[in-house]
Symmetry: C2
Subunit: 254 residues, 2 copies
C-alpha cells in the first residue's frame, strides 16, 4: 500500500482504511481499523470520519463500523460486478431450475477467480463459497475455464508459478495442467473433479462478451459421488451461451 | 463535498473522484472525471492513478474508467447491501415463482428508498428500476412500508418536507399521507396504487431484523389493470416474514 519507498500518500492512507475490511473482518471498531491500516488513532479517526460522512462506512449503535450503502450503490456500476450479475441472473436461475444444484458465476482478476454470484443448491456439497470470494484459477471449474481462455502468455506465466494443492486430485504439475487447459478449449467445458474438495465436482463453461473474448465463466457444483457429467454439460453450456448472447456476443456463422 | 467552508481535504478530493461515477455516468475519461469532481487535470490524474492501482477503478483499452472489481468485493461486505440481498434472495425467488411478477427488496437511506434487489417479472410494467436506484419514500410500496415504520419523529419531518408528485395518484398531502402510513402499520402491508406510474401497482411488506426493527421492505410490482391485491398480499407477507426470520427475527408469542 505504500508508494515507491516513501511514506504512504494521502490516497493510500484513505484506501488502507477501506482495505482494513474483509470477509474475516466485516465489522471493525476504530482501534481495529487504526491497527489494521497501520495508521495512528488520530489519523484513522479523521479518515473514518470522512468515509462515514460520505457513506462509504456506516457506524452502528455500538460504535462499530461496517461497509456502507453508498459503496454498494457505487459498486452496482462495476461492469464486472453487479452489472454483469444482473444480466446473467435469469440464466443462472434457469440453470438452477434445471439442475437444483449450486450455480456460480465468476470472473478472473489477475491469478484469481472472483465469484460474482452463487445460487445455493439443495444438495449439500463441502464447498461453501460466498459472493466476492477469491480462489486460485487451476482448481475450480470456473477457474479452469477462465485460465484456458486467458491467452497463451498468461497461461505460460500462471503454469510457471506455484500451483497450490487442495486435494490429491488438484493438478499441480504444469505439463498436466496445460494438457487439461487444451482439453477445456477443445471441448468448450471445464470439469474440476474433486480438485477443490474431495466430495465436489464442478462443470464450467466460458461466457463471452460482445467482442467474442471470454469475460466470465458459469458452473454447477455437485456432490462428486452422484455427479452425472454428461447431463450437466449441455445445461451449463446453454446457460453460458445465453449469458453471452445477453452480453452482445454473436456465434460465428457456420 | 467540501469541508466546512475551506478547500476540500485530501479524503474529500479522493471521494469526489468516486462520486463522479453514477448511473448516468458509469464510464468516464480522465477529462470527464476532472470536470465532474471539480479537480485540476493533474490532481485528477494522480488520484485516478491511485484508485486504479488499488482496484477501485478499472481502465479499459480505450482509456475509459469504470468502477472496479475491488470496490464490488468490498461492497459485498455491506450489511445493508449484498449481505442482506444474499440472505433474502431465496425468499425473493420464491415470491417470484409464486407470482411471476417484478419482485423488489429495498432499504431506507435518509429520505430515499434504495433498491437492493430487483427480479424482473414477465409482464411489462412501466416501472423499470435498477439495483442501486433511489426513489422518494412516499410514492413506492417499499417506501411507504419503510416510512410507516421509520418512527414518529422521522415521519413528522418527512411529511413536513416537499412531497413530489409523479402521477395524479401520488399522495402529496401530509395529512392524507399520515393517514395512509397509519393504515400501513395497521394492516402490515403498503399498497402503492398508480402513485409512481399510472400503469403500476405495488404491494409491499416490512422486513424485520433480529431486534424487531424494520430494516428493509419487500414488494411486488404488477400492471395496475390486472392487479389482484388480495392475492398478492399474503405472498408478499410470507416472503417478508421469511426474510425476517432468516435475519434472526422471532415473532412475538401470542
Amino acid at each position: 500500500m505504500t508508494g515507491t519507498g516513501g511514506a504512504p500518500t494521502a490516497p493510500e492512507r484513505l484506501l488502507s482504511v477501506l482495505a482494513a475490511f474483509d470477509h474475516e473482518h466485516p465489522a471493525l471498531c476504530l482501534t481495529d481499523i487504526s491497527r489494521r491500516a497501520g495508521l495512528s488513532l488520530t489519523t484513522a479517526h479523521r479518515l473514518v470520519g470522512a468515509l462515514t460522512e460520505w457513506g462509504a462506512l456506516e457506524r452502528d449503535e455500538s460504535g462499530v463500523y461496517h461497509v456502507g450503502l453508498r459503496l454498494w450503490e457505487l459498486a452496482a456500476l462495476a461492469p464486472r460486478g453487479l452489472a454483469l450479475r444482473q444480466i446473467a441472473l435469469p440464466y443462472l436461475e434457469d440453470l438452477y431450475e434445471a439442475t437444483h444444484e449450486n450455480v456460480q458465476l465468476a470472473v478472473r482478476d489477475a491469478s484469481d477467480v472472483v465469484y460474482i454470484e452463487w445460487l445455493s443448491g439443495r444438495s449439500a456439497v463441502g464447498v461453501h463459497i460466498r459472493v466476492g470470494a477469491r480462489w486460485p484459477l487451476h482448481a475450480t471449474g470456473v477457474g479452469l475455464a477462465l485460465l484456458a481462455h486467458g491467452g497463451p502468455e498468461f497461461q505460460k506465466e500462471y503454469c510457471a508459478g506455484e500451483l497450490a494443492s487442495f486435494t490429491p486430485y488438484t493438478i499441480t504439475d504444469p505439463v498436466r495442467l496445460r494438457r487439461a487447459l487444451a482439453e477445456v478449449r477443445r471441448t468448450g467445458v471445464a470439469v474440476s473433479d474433486r480438485q477443490v474438495t474431495e466430495d465436489a465436482l464442478s462443470v464450467a463453461a466460458p461466457v463471452r462478451g460482445a467482442d467474442g473474448s471470454v469475460t466470465a465463466a458459469v458452473s454447477v457444483v455437485v456432490p462428486q459421488a452422484h455427479a452425472q457429467v454428461p447431463v450437466l454439460v449441455p445445461a451449463v453450456r446453454v446457460a453460458a451461451r445465453g449469458i453471452s448472447r445477453a452480453l452482445g456476443w454473436q456465434p460465428e456463422p457456420g
